[in-house]
Amino acid sequence: MQSAKGKVTTQEQIRARAKELLEQKLVTAVLGFREGSLPGTVVPTLVTKPEQSDSLVYDERCLHNLAAYLPRLKHKGKLAVIASGPTSRSIVNLIKENQVKRENLYIIGVAGPEFHHKDTKAPSVRNRSRGTPNPVLCDEMVGDKAAEPAEDDYADIAAFEKLSPEERWQELTEDLSRCIRCYACRQSCPNCYCPTCFVDSSQPQWVGRTTDDSDTIMFHIMRAMHMAGRCVECGACARACPMGIDLMRLNRKVALIVRDRFGHVSGMSLDTPLPLACFQTDDKQEFIR
């Protein structure tokens, strides 16, 4: 896809388009990625001058969900943003939740970075949804589309559910007990834009501030609940976690429940209402007895 001979790479196309958009003053800045200092790292960056466009990179390393930056860049005017499948789904949610305005965004769609790997054809990124490599909402598409993968079977969740309740609890607590409460998961998540997070509330203090299991588990379970119907399974939280906690297990389980109960897959369309933010007469109500 990328380095085919004689073909313009996706990265080159992104640079060219960023330059044009800035020169024509169609956007005030382009939110993308630049080279990082350590091998294998890239850094989210905001390019404001056409001549800086060549600092933009796009390849398999560009896994951050750039939508997380959009709510706090609201004051910057109209922004262009590089968006793969999961990022575009997060943007859809942010628009629906009134955090960004559609008309203030110019979405440059690309196939997921995992499909821009230099030498492999079988991308596999831990903790990332296999559902949507291509953007669901964009103003233009740069580079080729990736082949749509088979529908997500949530085999990982099914396997976890086969364990006994005791085994599940043990695995969850062992995993979450490594949490150091740095909130890298929350801060890297496009859904977490609350001005004051429930864990930061001190009057009343809903959640203890220690790293005791009871406090960390409370935080993660409450966060997962807040993700219901909103998480797009981009995996940004799990990749941000310095302690290697498998955060997607909780998020994917919640996403699966929402899919099964409401027939809703998060962030796929601007038109469908958020399932937990609306009431419909055909909602399942068998829990009311």
Binding site: L38, P44, R178, R181, Y183, A184, Q205, T211, P242
Partner: protein, 393 residues
């Protein structure tokens, strides 16, 4: 003091010997995740020396993320109970950067009272003894752990791509702050004691030969050479004095998501929060790590926040390390008994160059890049300003 030799064949026996003398702590592999962390060793085989840096620095053994200050029963003063005293400990496998960081911690948590000639002049004669300076406070929790712990270091022969201890007066084979330093020389460890406490751990072991010490010296030199980053720290500090309002901060703070990773994995970050937890008349006062990157960190009771944006908080962390701390600790003398950083040329930065913040940053921010950008941009801004002044004249 005489250097000695521990062969790798005998290493588990050496470790088991240490475990008999005191509680033994060492880096251990994390379960189900990459990396290692200091843990209580029950079996010598659990010790993992295959690490560049532990995920969390050794500070967590002296300044734990969750610390019980005391327990209480509501309604009575008498029922306040201090926590259990800490046992004697040996910590094995401390990297020289982490040990150097503890010397900085000592300045914060247990510096001695200021001598009379450094007391503020305005203080009244009879009140002098009551004056509490931030540098005269001794934290009993930290002090107890520090005094009951013997530190056994492990020299770095292969620093990583994010390491830059040499830029901060450190060394991959440095022994400052340690009681004993182990250097991996092929099939053996060269054990270099730096204190009596350290020497006791290796008495009876065979003495090192000159060739062993020579080999260690070569390794130290080679390791030092792999770290290319160098910055004139005194110059940087004066630049930062001028650059609080520099527009470079906007750019540098853009990728920062304001999580607390950099502060929690940092061996020198030491901010904390204190909370009370109470249930049915029984309670506890707890001290937990806090981070200047969080919005709550400086929010006043009135609701006003002097550092409302991510940029303010990112700048705060950088300036605390490279401007405020060196300012607060400038000119404080070297005290050999307390093993403070003595040979460290001023200014004394609140950073030891372990590189953890660079490796773990979810946005890929590199502190070295940040410092270089600031240095350049502030220099440019100052020069432009000077030009303007000259032209105006």
């Amino acid at each position: 003091m005489t250097s000695r030799i521990v062969t790798k064949k005998d290493f588990s026996r050496f470790v088991a010997g240490l475990a008999k003398q005191a509680e033994l702590w060492a880096p251990m592999k994390l379960k189900d995740a990459d990396g290692s962390r200091f843990g209580r060793v029950k079996d010598a085989r659990e010790v993992c020396f295959d690490y560049l840096n532990t995920k969390l620095p050794v500070k967590e053994l002296f300044f734990p993320q969750r610390e019980l200050l005391f327990t209480f029963k509501t309604g009575t003063r008498e029922s306040v109970q201090p926590p259990q005293p800490v046992a004697e400990r040996i910590v094995l496998g401390v990297r020289p950067c982490d040990a150097a960081a503890l010397l900085l911690f000592d300045r914060v948590f247990m510096a001695e009272p200021l001598p009379a000639d450094r007391q503020p002049l305005s203080a009244k004669e009879d009140r002098k003894s009551e004056i509490v300076d931030c540098r005269s406070f001794v934290d009993p929790y930290y002090q107890q752990r520090r005094e009951k712990t013997t530190l056994v270091g492990l020299a770095c022969n292969e620093p990583g791509p994010a390491c830059f201890c040499t830029a901060l007066a450190g060394s991959p084979h440095g022994s400052a702050g340690l009681d004993l330093l182990l250097v991996d020389i092929d099939e053996r460890y060269l054990a270099v004691p730096t204190t009596d406490k350290g020497e006791k751990l290796v008495t009876g072991l065979p003495e090192a030969k000159k060739a062993d010490e020579e080999k260690a010296k070569q390794l130290a030199e080679a390791a030092g050479k792999t770290m290319k980053f160098a910055l004139d720290m005194a110059g940087l500090k004066s630049r930062l004095d001028q650059g609080f309002e520099s527009d470079a901060w906007d750019e540098l703070a853009l990728p920062c998501v304001n999580c607390g990773v950099c502060t929690y994995v940092c061996p020198t970050c030491h901010c904390f929060d204190v909370t009370d937890e109470e249930h049915k008349g029984k309670g506890a006062r707890l001290r937990t790590w806090d981070s200047c990157q969080f919005a709550l960190f400086t929010r006043h009771a009135s609701g006003h926040n002097p550092r409302p944006t991510g940029k303010d908080r990112m700048r705060q962390r950088t300036l605390h390390k490279f401007r405020y701390f060196p300012e607060a600790h400038a000119g404080l003398g070297h005290d050999p008994d307390r093993r403070h950083v003595g040979s460290c040329p001023a200014p004394l930065m609140l950073c030891v160059g372990c590189g953890r913040c660079i490796v773990e940053c979810p946005a890929g921010i590199d502190l070295r890049e940040t410092l270089c950008t600031l240095e350049e941009r502030i220099k440019d801004a100052v020069q432009t300003a000077e030009c303007k002044v000259q032209k105006a004249k």
